[in-house]
Amino acid sequence: MRKQLMKGNEAIVKSAILSGCRAFYGYPITPASEIAEAAAVFMPKAGGVYVQAESEVAAINMLYGGASAGIRAMTASSGPGISLMQEGISYMAGAELPCVIADITRGGPGLGNIAAEQGDYHQVVKGGGHGNYRTIVLAPHSVQEMADLTALAFELADRYRNPVVILADGFVGQMMEPVAFPQKAIGSSMPPWAVAGTAETRPNMINSLHMDVDDLERHVRALEAKYKIAEQREARAEEWCTADAEIVLVGYGIVGRILKAVTAEARANGLKVGVLRPITLYPFPVVQFQRLAFNARAFLVVEMSNGQLVEDVKLALNGSRPVEFLSRVGGNVPSHEEVLNFVHGLARRTVDEERMANV
């Protein structure tokens, strides 16, 4: 398969169109703007719709409209814009509308800055909107994954009739790497529940309002059941040198790449280090964590945020192994050396503690 050099943000759009996406509504924001720009070029050529909305609030509600009409549709933004979209994301989850939202994260809170950070974990993975809902969250760490996980995102969105978020930091969105699109272009058929202005779809209704308390409870339970199935079937993670790993490094997105580089060096220094990189942040790959806990002495979570992913890791391990934490924020990136030093320190402490325990 021949590859071409491409930005992660552009790969998202091309993969989306190959996956049958025919509508993009968005509002420009660094570092996600290339997604809107590529969509403005390619969506009309592919026979689709591109609208630059007046705000992220309008964009997400256009997404609600496009999805209601049975169109595979997407939007893209970064932290501040995703905050504005939370209302619509909750409505879409409530109305069970499939859609794909790319969050190319930047620094926060507030206006923060435009450097790559991972501080959107909570608002995306835990659901920043109101009510009992979840979004499926995919976290690519390379341009190839931007393409591959976008295709998966549309598939999962349709399968679960739920918003799917591609959570990528500014690095993954902005960088260029060789990428291949091995998939054939697919179309999307009219979902049976859509409201498309046709005789067949006239009886359909898109709605998230359930005034009757029992009715809403049934609805929320049905959503929960759906999420449970997703938890059983869709959790994904990449393991890197984990077979004999005593220290498991955990990170997603660009951090996953840094951890791989650190692992190579740590192993050269004789440390049994591996990487567990969650690809789905919801559903969280709990089973992989529990399996690696058999061999591992400790887990080290590295984040470009102030302790968000680490909460899910602790929940997954449920106290069975110590969880250490290294974080950089503000757009700073944990350097190779910084992580490596931490790993060495951790290895020493772990050995010392075991020695102490054996005394």
Binding site: R2, I17, K45, G47, E54, T198, I254
Partner: protein, 539 residues
């Protein structure tokens, strides 16, 4: 009305039930028994077909709407339903409902129904109409929904001239939430949040939505009507039908603002509330047509093509087989991998940081390198700094070109730094690996930046580019020097990369000369006794 309406009228013979379940509830009808059964009466005004027969909102109340007695919403619903009937568009209609008293429109209208978030119906409607242009999309909104929380969405949908119909029911109050002040509340009008009456000093003035939107160039028809008396009701009905017809004809954005009574919150009898619309509300909100461009507009063809399959896109969409080509990802359009494969006895590990001011071609230099690396069958990555510095200030990018899979695209310690000016040099010179290279664009290398463990090639590359005819080729002169120093990438790969990235042949020619000049300069610097030695790029 008559001619269209007769076509949908049911024939009624004597005691034949008009409403199917009439027989089940004979007490439900007031007396008409006095009529001579031999006379042939026909239904002239009855429940529109666009309404459901029963409302499944609750087990009880299947025959009544949820609206309070005398509420204007029901009257407006009937006008809209009749217009849908008259225009024969029931199957094509999508009704986007708001948040507010009319949140339950989907229980009443037998059309495609979508319930939208508060104020967002015009955004929802925009997307639905764009993707399903053959549908008839109606955004039904109250004054809290449209003129307060949704003021941005309505303004921009109108300004884009979306081919939708907006029904805006203005009762000058937030009714569903119990009577709070709305943007449309009249001066002096009491509400639960303006207990002493609305004051211009603190709440501003009543918002004139129709007048405001009429200042835009895109809308095709905007009219304010009222439910204040029989005549006004008839005019409102005509206006609503016209607004819908405009959409059917593909003319563009139409909005009908309806001044509508809310007897419950206004604390009036329905009849008094109706009079208040006429006598009081209308003084603040004058009735009339504020914008009518129906004659200037050309109907959009897809809206008139009855033969077009409903739900299809207006223009012929490309086939799926064409999509990869359109996206530029079709296998046959891509460069051949390993076109000019590098054979090296060493593992290649080239980590380059290129830094300069915005506009100096920093990012393009990196792109050519990365693209050439890919052409040479190597693993590559390109990572920019991004944001405002793309326009001014410092700009930099990192390129990795390797034999093995690249773990991280981040470059902390480059083995080559291309510094296109002094600030960039000062920012990054300490990060260069011992034994690495600094290629610097300047008349002389700043003395206090000198390191004895790196090689330096410092030349006024910009002047040299000027000699070639264009300052903007400085980056390519520096690239030429870098290629000569590192010796990793074949010139054929560079040429191929340049042709993919630079579309203008004049620039390709200049860039090629610039690169050749850069290579010469490095060789000349060796002959001139400059202390710099080609470095074997290896791990």
């Amino acid at each position: 009305m008559s001619s269209e309406h007769v076509t949908s009228a049911e024939s009624y013979q004597g005691t034949t039930p008009v409403v199917p379940n009439e027989a089940e509830k004979p007490a439900g009808f007031s007396p008409s028994e006095s009529a001579d059964p031999t006379l042939d009466y026909t239904v002239a005004h009855g429940r529109a077909k666009a309404f459901y027969e029963h409302y499944e909102r609750k087990d009880e109340l299947q025959h009544q709407t949820h609206y309070c007695p005398g509420c204007g919403h029901g009257t407006v619903h009937k006008m809209l339903a009749r217009a849908i009937d008259d225009l024969g568009v029931q199957d094509r209609t999508i009704l986007v409902g708001p948040v507010g008293c009319s949140v339950f429109t989907y229980y009443y209208f037998d059309v495609g129904n979508v319930q939208a978030a508060h104020g967002r119906a015009p955004a929802v409607a925009t997307a639905m109409k764009r993707s399903r242009p053959n549908s008839i999309v109606i955004s039904y909104q109250g004054d809290g929904d449209l003129s307060a929380i949704g003021s941005a969405e309505i303004l921009h949908a109108a300004n884009r001239g979306e081919n939708i119909t907006v029904i805006f029911v203005n009762n000058a109050i937030y009714s569903m939430t119990g009577g709070q002040c709305a943007p449309t509340t009249l001066l002096g009008q009491k509400s639960t949040t303006t207990p002493d009456g609305r004051s211009a000093a603190t709440e501003g003035y009543p918002l004139h939505v129709s007048e405001l939107l009429s200042t835009l160039e895109a809308p095709v028809y905007i009219e304010r009507v009222a439910l204040g008396d029989n005549k006004q009701v008839a005019q409102a009905s005509r206006a609503i039908k016209r607004a819908l017809e405009n959409q059917v004809r593909g003319l563009g954005f139409s909005l009908i603002e309806v001044l509508s009574p809310c007897p419950t919150i206004w604390k009036m009898t329905p009849v008094d509330a109706q009079r208040w619309v006429h006598d009081v509300m209308e003084k603040t909100f004058p009735l009339g047509v504020f914008c009518d461009r129906t004659k200037e507009r050309t109907p959009q063809p897809h809206a008139l093509e009855s033969s077009a399959a409903p739900g299809t896109l207006p223009k012929a969409a490309p086939t799926l087989a064409d999509i990869p080509g359109i996206l530029g990802v079709a296998e046959e359009n891509l460069p051949e991998g390993n076109a000019h494969a590098v054979v090296s006895e060493h593992d290649i590990d080239l980590q380059v940081r290129i830094a300069g001011f915005g506009g100096q071609g920093v990012l393009l230099l990196g792109e050519v390198l990365a693209e050439a690396g890919l052409d040479a069958g190597l693993e590559v990555s390109w990572l920019p700094s991004y944001g405002p510095e793309m326009r001014s200030g410092t700009s930099n990018c990192c390129v990795r070109i390797e034999s093995e899979t690249i773990d991280s695209p981040l470059v902390n310690s480059p083995n080559v730094l291309v510094a296109m000016n002094e600030p960039s040099l000062r920012k990054f010179d300490k990060s260069v690996r011992p034994g690495g290279w600094v290629i610097y664009n300047g008349d002389e290398f700043p003395a206090n930046c000198a390191r004895d463990d790196v090689h330096v090639l410092a030349l006024p590359f910009t002047h040299l580019a000027d000699e070639l005819g264009d300052t903007r080729a400085s980056n390519m002169v520096m690239l030429g020097a870098l290629l000569e120093i590192t010796g990793v990438l074949p010139q054929a790969s560079i040429d191929a990369a340049l042709r993919r990235l630079v579309k203008n042949p004049r620039w390709v020619e200049l860039d090629e000369r610039a690169m050749a000049r850069g290579r010469e300069l490095y060789k000349e610097s060796l002959l001139g006794g400059v202390k710099c030695v080609p470095m074997a790029i290896q791990t």
